[in-house]
């Protein structure tokens, strides 16, 4: 991937940026849209966890397919950025590939699958296994930005609850879960309290990733295109999952299981069932991480397998 030359700022550059191909402006969005989105991001960063409305644009992909994340990516990306796009940990799923190709086409930036090498990572439903660094930006695609939607249908009422930090209804939901099922059954979208103030939906990441939001050195931005909301976790922000003193928060357990490809026992695993044999097997959800471990010869343990269902 060749990068556009910047020396001497050619005459057709505008705003210090090169023109995109096919007559589109750099990174597709017009300057006005970028300015608005950046301002909203600043506000979101200033009030961690608070949902900021914005004028979500029509994008050349359908709403619900990552238009929120895409708009953040396009509003933030510069020619020197290195982009990584993942969908539930995979760089090569159709959704991830389409978005990566689109951004590359309208910006000409370099792309990568290597987490440490990326400066900007757009993700759907995962946080990469490899630790993030300062100055990296992680952009989440968010289907439902309102954590209280689960317990309250009225937007007016949820806004009041945020304004007054009245989250007793969410706590009540967790209490009822414990009473009814003996545990909290929320898997993805586990509600977190940001800076001890705002309740936030972390997007449908697994519980495994929830603890990794806490005081993360990277800037994490969240955007729901359909619901027109942006929110943010600035680097090192305190993020706590809602938990009772006597019923603590727990992440998914893969006790004794390993990735069948790389042998890792320290990563979030996807379960696969072989339809022919009925066998269950497990593999890393983060494909790039898995590949890296394998190349480094990390695979030592035999492929863990279980009996039929």
């Amino acid at each position: 991937m060749s990068r556009p030359a910047r020396a001497g700022a050619p005459a057709d550059w505008r705003d210090g940026l090169p023109p995109g191909r096919d007559g589109y402006s750099f990174a597709f969005l017009d300057a006005g849209a970028k300015r608005e989105i950046r301002r909203r991001i600043l506000k979101a960063v200033a009030i961690p966890g608070c949902q900021v409305p914005f004028g979500s644009r029509e994008m050349p992909i359908a709403r619900g397919w990552g238009t929120g994340g895409l708009q953040l990516t396009l509003a933030l990306i510069g020619p020197e950025d290195v982009l990584k796009v993942i969908d539930q940990g995979a760089d090569d799923s159709v959704n991830a590939v389409s978005i990566r190709r689109f951004v590359q086409r309208v910006t000409g930036v370099r792309t990568t699958t290597d987490t440490p090498a990326a400066t900007l990572i757009q993700t759907r439903h995962r946080i990469p296994e490899e630790p993030l660094r300062p100055h990296q930006i992680l952009v989440f695609q968010v289907p439902i930005p309102e954590p209280l939607r689960l317990v309250e249908p009225s937007e007016k009422e949820t806004r009041r609850m945020h304004a007054e930090a009245d989250y007793s209804r969410m706590w009540l939901y967790l209490y009822e879960d414990i009473v009814t099922y003996g545990e909290i059954t929320i898997g993805a979208r586990y509600p977190v309290l940001v800076n001890r103030r705002h309740l936030m939906d972390p997007s449908p990441i697994p519980r495994w990733d929830v603890e990794r939001l806490d005081r993360n050195p990277a800037l994490m931005l969240f955007c729901a295109g359909r619901e027109k909301r942006i929110y943010a976790l600035p680097p090192h922000t305190l993020v706590e999952p809602l938990q009772f003193e006597d019923v603590p928060f727990r992440v998914e357990s893969f006790a004794g299981r390993r990735c069948r490809r790389c042998g890792s026992a320290r990563s979030f695993l996807d379960e696969a069932i072989d339809e022919a044999t009925g066998r269950r097997s497990y593999a890393c959800s983060d494909a790039a991480f898995c590949e890296k471990v394998r190349k480094a010869g990390g695979r030592t343990a035999p492929e863990p397998e279980e009996g039929g269902p």
Binding site: E164, W171, Y175, F244
Partner: protein
């Protein structure tokens, strides 16, 4: 003989629905025998209501539907905002703890919504005629009680369950039904869960709005007996709103009689029942005996 100051002081409580006009005060109220202004069609649900509630006292508010008695209780519970009026609480140290921003003698209607909500959760309990208003029918009986405790900052499931079990036992709800949904309960049991919920944070003021209306007579009697025994045990300052003079006789020591949004008579409950002064109260008493 000096008595401690009243727990609740209400002055000039007024709530109007509609735009209102300068003629409203003149053309509505007990003297005008209507609460709707003939000029602007606004309804003055309650007007210039003033009273005091003392520690451990049970005050009755009696009147027919539309007299404004429920409006008064809803204003005091911040379910509605008043058009005018002052509302003060005199609390002892224990009750005021946890509300450090509450100034003595502050007009509670001037508090912000967040403070009002906190104050209501910590210091007030309400039981509505309609359990739908006071209970979440899709949340377990124990969860309904836990909600108030959660709002007050409780974060231990076991302790909340112990508290809920204790309150349900006291209100004669079988504790083994704690994890069932109140919508499967009878009307009388729903009211008892509401009472348990109202008592969960040891409120300083308890508001009972037509709690037995609509229940079968035998169920009514059990709920009233429960309230009486809790009253004797806990000594919570209570306001009982009812159109039923029997309820007033059984539960209250002092009574306000309301009509067309105004207080037409107030006195000791036995005096109101045996020697009513106002024509309307006489009619009310004569109608039931």
């Amino acid at each position: 003989m000096t008595l401690p100051p009243p727990i609740v002081q209400v002055r000039g409580l007024t709530r109007r629905f509609g735009t209102g006009c300068p003629a409203c005060p003149e053309l509505t109220g007990p003297a005008a025998e209507t609460n709707q202004c003939p000029r602007c069609r606004s309804v003055t649900a309650c007007r210039e209501v003033s009273f005091e509630l003392h520690s451990g006292e049970v005050l009755g508010i009696v009147g027919e539907s539309g007299s404004g008695k429920s409006t008064v209780v809803r204003l005091l519970h911040f379910d509605l905002a008043p058009t005018a009026g002052e509302y003060r609480l005199n609390l002892n140290g224990a009750a005021a703890a946890g509300l450090p921003w509450l100034e003595p003698g502050q007009n509670l209607f001037e508090l912000g919504p967040h403070q009002r909500r906190q104050l209501r959760n910590r210091l007030m309990g309400i039981v509505y005629q309609n359990p739908l208003l006071g209970l979440r029918l899709k949340v377990t009986a124990g969860g309904n009680i836990a909600e108030r405790l959660l709002m007050a900052g409780w974060r231990r499931v076991e302790r909340m369950r112990e508290r809920a079990a204790d309150l349900l036992a006291r209100t004669e709800v079988p504790v083994e039904r704690m994890d069932e949904l109140p919508r499967h309960f009878s009307g009388g049991m729903q009211q008892r869960v509401q009472i348990a919920k109202a008592l969960s944070t040891d409120p300083a003021v308890l508001l009972l709005d037509e709690v037995t209306t609509g229940l079968d007579v035998s169920v009514q009697a059990r709920v009233l007996d429960l309230i009486r025994s809790l009253q004797r045990e806990l000594q919570i300052a209570t306001i009982v709103v009812s159109h039923d003079l029997g309820v007033i006789r059984m539960l209250t020591t002092r009574t306000l009689v309301m009509r067309y949004g105004g207080i037409v008579e107030q006195g000791l409950s036995d005096q109101i029942l045996e020697d009513p002064q106002h024509p309307y109260t006489q009619l009310l008493v004569n109608s039931t005996l």
